[in-house]
Each structure stands twice: as structure tokens, then as C-alpha cells.
């Protein structure tokens, strides 16, 4: 799947190590849980560290059930500063009485090995909920993990956060701010576990841009709303979602401390990065064979457009039809119709498209004749676009989802052990 291009933003390699001064590593420390029947040989513990202290920002899951690492990370970046990230897969360290204690131990172990303050460490976990996190493998592996840190260690780190992901998800971008070239890179894990128990998203982003913690947080909060918050694989909000950004200032741009043109540039770059990560995540949703991009325009507000687009991409019936490559526009209109938003259904138009072209399937709320053959050709592609207009307003939104397949049921219906 091609990356979506943006003006003034160049893609580059290196993921979380793309920006100057960031090292990373990933190892298999051996966290496989007790119920596991098959232990895939893959990394399960990652470390990212910046050569100098960074400003930091994060956004967390809104689930009332929160993983212990989230509680600890929130506390650690309260001062807007951080320098390292320690993250494990396999076990979510959630709903455990000793969860916070274990998450703090992970920070302490990493900090000791790196010679930094444990309060400068961000911690994250993903995996099965409600199983005690064994700290021994993490403690035992920390020395090797830290010693193996390199400025090109991103492939080992991204592997450590992968679960049922069928491909690693990394993007890095370069952009100019005040005559200086800045770099930003990120990695994301998709939905699934080796022994799948939840659709968890963790995203880690590093940049050498110089930006205040306050504006870093503002940019991140803005961009999350229109990227990660607009993706649905199965409608389940996880307990451990977290996205965080570290900004080191090594690029030596004029520090971004207010909402000026440089801030706009930074936010655009973050959008380009996270939007592409979001598309990769949807494309690689559990069992998915296709990315579905649904764009709604003509709404009274962006919020209304988002509600309608989300209603379409979360409809199980629509998703199953996409798997079947069936231009069943009735299901799209049905999902538009039950969206909890105000608009006139008689003004709804729907187009279906892909690299093979676009066709109108519905105008003014009623079906129009179209070539089923052409529709089949369009829907045979990997990236499907659903273009909906619902009136004459200026509100618009794009949301991303995937098809619903046998493999989704297989992955999630399999018994844990």
C-alpha cells in the first residue's frame, strides 16, 4: 500500500530512529504467558532513548479500565519532560493488583541501566488483560536491551511491539522549520495479540524538532482527533491505548513556543505521519484484506461528518459486503441513515471508488443504475474509497476501517490456550 503524500513533507526511513539522537532496541525477553500454546519467536520488549532530555506529550485511552502503565506514564510526564520509552507486548499489565508497582519497576530497571531518572521514563504494555506481569524476564533482559541500543535499532524495536500485526508499521517524515530540516518518525502496533485478546494501539513518535511541551501536547491532541480517533477495526476501545511523542530539539530550529507558521508546519508533519500510520493500522486490522477510507462532506459540522463516516466504517454488514466485494450501497445508506446526526437523507449521494475508478451508486437518497462489472473491478482493489456527501455544509471528515472476514472470527474466536 502506497503512503499518502503531502505537500512540503518528504518521507524518509528509520522509524523512531529517523530523528537525530534517538537510539532503539528490541529483544525477546520471554514474556509468553502461561496459557500460550504457541510462542512465536519474536521480540517482546523494546527501549527507545534520546541522547538528551526531551519535551513530551501523550494521549491515552478513554476506557475506564486503564492499564497500570498508563497511570505511571501520566505521572512521569506531568512535568512535560521525558527521555526514554520502555514497552512490552504479550501482557497488558491491566486489572492486576500489583500493576502500578510492576510498571514502576519497569521504569526503574530501564532508568538504572541508562543512568537516567526513572521519572523520565515512559512505560507501556500490551497483551492479555488480567494476568500478573512476570517482572523477571524484563529485569533479566534489561542489560542486553540497553547495551544493544543503536541509532538504527528501529526494526528490532518495532518488532517488539508487533502482535498479530502482519507487517511492521513505521513512518518517518522530514520537513523544514525556519530554514532547518527537522525529522519525525513513529512506530505503531496494530490490533491483535499473539494470543489475541484485545485490539490495542500503541504509538511512539520521536522528533528532533524544538517545541515546547505545551505546544507538543496541543499538536498531538489535535492530530489524534483526526487520525487514530478516526480508525475502527472492530469498535472495541482498548484499555491500554497510548500515543506519545518525544521532541529533543536537536534540529536547532527556532523553538516553537506559540501557534505560528512553524507550529502549523509541525502539526501538518505530525498529521502526515499519524494519518499514514492510521491507514496502515486499518489496512492491517485483524483478518482484514482491505483498507476502507470513508470521506463524508457537506455536513453542518466536521463532527456530524465524522459521526456519519464512523457509522459506515463500523457497520458489520457493510464490512462483510466489502469482504465479498459487493457494491451493496443499500448497506451504506442504511448505516448513514442510523448515524446519530442531523441531515436530510434525501440529499445523500454515495460514490464508490479505488485505483480502478469511481462510480455513483446513490443520488439524493435513491439508487442509480451502475455497472456491477465495473463495481466488482473497483472493489477488487486493496484500498477502497467511499465518498459520501450529505448536504451543502462545510463540515467534512475522513475515517478508516477494514473489511470483516473469516480470519477476524478465527483470530478472536480461538481459545487463549
Amino acid at each position: 500500500m502506497k503512503l499518502r503524500e503531502f505537500e512540503n513533507i518528504k518521507f524518509t526511513d528509520g522509524g523512531v530512529c529517523a530523528a537525530k539522537g534517538f537510539r532503539a532496541n528490541g529483544i525477546q525477553c520471554g514474556l509468553a504467558h502461561s496459557g500460550a500454546s504457541v510462542t512465536k519467536k519474536k521480540n517482546d520488549l523494546a527501549l527507545i532513548v534520546s541522547d538528551k532530555e526531551c519535551t513530551a506529550a501523550a494521549v491515552y485511552t478513554t476506557n475506564k479500565v486503564k492499564g497500570a502503565p498508563i497511570i505511571v506514564t501520566k505521572e512521569h510526564i506531568r512535568n512535560g519532560r521525558a527521555r526514554a520509552v520502555i514497552v512490552n507486548s504479550v501482557n497488558a499489565n491491566t486489572c492486576n493488583a500489583d500493576g502500578v508497582e510492576k510498571a514502576e519497576m519497569m521504569c526503574r530497571l530501564a532508568a538504572k541501566e541508562l543512568g537516567i531518572d526513572e521519572n523520565d521514563v515512559i512505560v507501556a504494555s500490551t497483551g492479555v488483560i488480567g494476568q500478573i506481569l512476570p517482572i523477571e524476564p524484563i529485569a533479566g533482559g534489561m542489560k542486553e536491551l540497553a547495551e544493544g541500543l543503536t541509532y538504527d535499532g528501529n526494526p528490532r524495536a518495532v518488532e517488539a511491539i508487533m502482535t498479530t500485526d502482519t507487517m511492521p508499521k513505521e513512518v518517518a517524515v522530514q520537513f523544514e522549520m525556519g530554514g532547518k530540516t527537522c525529522t519525525m518518525g513513529g512506530m505503531l502496533k496494530g490490533s491483535g495479540m499473539i494470543h489475541p485478546n484485545m485490539a490495542t494501539t500503541l504509538t511512539f513518535i520521536t522528533t528532533d524538532a524544538d517545541i515546547s511541551a505545551e505546544l507538543l501536547q496541543r499538536a498531538l491532541s489535535d492530530v489524534v482527533k483526526v487520525t487514530l480517533n478516526r480508525v475502527s477495526v472492530d469498535g472495541d476501545t482498548s484499555t491500554n491505548d497510548m500515543v506519545c511523542v518525544l521532541a529533543s530539539g536537536t534540529a536547532e530550529n527556532i523553538p516553537v513556543t506559540k501557534e505560528n507558521a512553524d507550529f502549523e508546519m509541525f502539526r501538518n508533519a505530525l498529521y502526515a505521519l499519524m494519518m499514514n500510520l492510521a491507514r496502515m493500522m486499518a489496512r492491517d486490522g485483524e483478518g482484514a484484506t482491505k483498507l476502507i477510507e470513508c470521506a463524508v462532506s457537506g455536513a453542518d459540522t466536521d463532527k456530524t461528518a465524522e459521526i456519519v463516516a464512523k457509522s459506515v466504517i463500523t457497520s458489520s454488514l457493510f464490512k462483510a459486503a466489502m469482504f465479498g466485494e459487493d457494491a451493496n450501497w443499500g448497506r451504506i445508506l442504511c448505516a448513514v441513515g442510523y448515524a446519530d446526526a442531523e441531515f436530510d437523507i434525501n440529499e445523500v449521494n454515495v460514490k464508490i471508488g479505488s485505483e480502478k475508478g469511481f462510480i455513483d451508486v446513490c443520488k439524493n437518497g435513491a439508487g442509480v443504475e451502475f455497472s456491477e462489472e465495473k463495481a466488482k473491478e473497483i472493489l477488487g482493489e486493496e484500498v477502497i474509497e467511499i465518498i459520501i456527501s450529505i448536504g451543502n455544509g462545510g463540515g467534512k471528515a475522513v475515517c478508516w476501517g477494514c473489511d470483516l472476514t473469516y480470519d477476524y472470527v478465527k483470530i478472536n474466536g480461538d481459545y487463549r490456550s
Copy 2:
């Protein structure tokens, strides 16, 4: 699956013909749509008629896209009276420019054959959205349909509204009001089409009780909220949902015209009927192998309890785990946690049960030890109960769903033609 029993209410046979003075029939008139590759030999047109005029009430889908029959039925029962129901499957008569005209023609054709006023006819359709309804098969079959009406014709009628339903869904109850025995019977279609395009529910109920149109509507509106509105197969609200009740007064009870004890009795009977139909619908949801009953208590309000219970039964991850017979309580807690309602997650307790017994899996928001073997035995049953308490409030609700299976994807991923 056994019917759920209620005090002072007796189950009986006969479906929509159980109450005195109601005849029904169903025929195959030949509505198979153009894209159909396999035409299952089954009835597709049903008629229900009362010997005397009835009070009538109905509740409709809230989807902005409304089937034409809904528009016509609303108009016809505006005066609170009706005498017959004409209903077809295969074609939803929705999103068609001539939809209302065709729905009116169906009423006129039935009325003419029955010698009644066309405004006394309720019309309903279910099937593919956006295909023109051919009126010829309906016109051609109407004479045979009317001539074949009998006081035990309910099996032919219920077959005509079945689509991918794997079993007919009928319930009838008897109860006493003011010393008279009253009877009430109903039929419902589950989620799916021969060439499945939407999860549509149609429910038709007849009774010989004497009750004013106003109180009939009140009872129906109350009961729908806690039965049909608490079922989710796949979260898709259809465009053609309709439930209607005809009450003939033939039982000669003291007419129910105010909210007295008789009204309570009537409403309880309607609840017993519709709750059992709702359970049958969830059990027979597309591809389902299990009925999932989720009861939430201890909420501040019934609404809060309902939001939490719905969050659980609509979680794809939870539903897939139920298919896998996996006591993955983490997914239940996760769905409880992202429910849009106020409560303390640390007060949440979860039990899983069935005819094989009950086990605690989560107390005060954290996991408790349980026998996986016992859990497996419990989850091997056809009816699974998830019992959740979320605090000390008096609010409670029960919702019904089903597991998510390969067959759901198969049924809905198949191409229409």
C-alpha cells in the same frame, strides 16, 4: 431453547392465529429478485386478518432511511384502527421512487379481496434495499392468498416472513383480565435475507383483548424499549423495522381504557410474549450458535445499566470469544469500561453462567481465580448468561445478543447475485 416462564401467564400454540377471530395465510407469489442465483422454495407473501375491526398500535425503526411501507402504515393507523396486515419478504421496497405508490397498491389489493377499507390495512416489506418492487406477483397471488385464510394458518404466514431465519419464531400467551381469558400471539422474523442485505426485524402481534388504541400504543411502546430495543445481532439498525399489534376485543373483557391492574396484566403479557420473541431472534441471529443474555444491575439508572449491557453484547471481540467458548473476562471488562456511562470501574463484578452453573470471573474490577475447565463447560451451552453488577444503585437491564461466527461473515460476505 426453552421459553422463559412468567407468573400468571400460560404459553399456548397458534402464533398470530392463537387469539379468537384471527385468520392468516402465506403463499409463494414469486418475488425472487433479479440478482437471485438460488430461489429457496418458500412463502414470500403473508396476510393476517381479523373478523372484526381492531384497535392498532405500532413502533417503527428510527433509521432516517425508511421503507415506503412504514410511511403508508403510519398513515393508515393514524386513527388507531386496522383490520389486516399484508407483508412480503425478498424486497424491502426502500429507496425506490415508486415505493409509496407500490405500498399503497399492496393495501388496495388486499382490501379489495377482503372487502374492507384499504386504510384498515397495515403493510410491511423486508428484503433488498433499492430494487423496484414488482407488483405483478403480489397482484397475481392476492386471490389465492385471501381464499386460503384459515384460523390455523399461522405456520404458512410465519414462513412467508422468514428469510435466513433457521426456525420460525412464534409465541402465544394466555392470561386473565377481569375474569375473562385473553389470548395474544405473535410472529417475528430474525436477521437476514435469502440474499442477505440487512438485519430486518418485523413483528406482528394479535390479541382478542379489548383495549383502547391509546393504551395499546402505550403498552407496546413501553415493552419495545425493554425487549426488541435490547437486542443486537450486529449493531445495524434496519430501515424497515416495524412491530404492530391488533386488538380485536373479542375476549369481551372490561375494556382497558386507563392504567389500572388490567393494563398492568396486559403489559406483562405483552412483555412475556415479546421478550421470548426477542430471545429467539438473538439466538437465531445470522450465523449465531448461542444466545447471550447480559444482565447488568447496581447502576444509578436503568438507562446506565442498559448502556453497559449493550456495550458488552455488541463487542465484536467479546462475541468472537463466546463463539470460541473462551471465558475471556478481560474483554467483558474492556467493553464495560468503554461504555458511555458513569460508574466506578472498581465496583464492577462479573459472573458467567449457564444451565451448567455460574462462576465469578471478576470482582471489584480485577480478575479472580476460576476453573478454566468449569468455564469451558459453562460456555459449551446454548444460552449463556453474563451477570454484571456495577455498584449499589437500583438501575438494572437485560440485553440479548449472540456470538460472532464464521457463518455471519459467510452469510453477509456472499455476493448478492
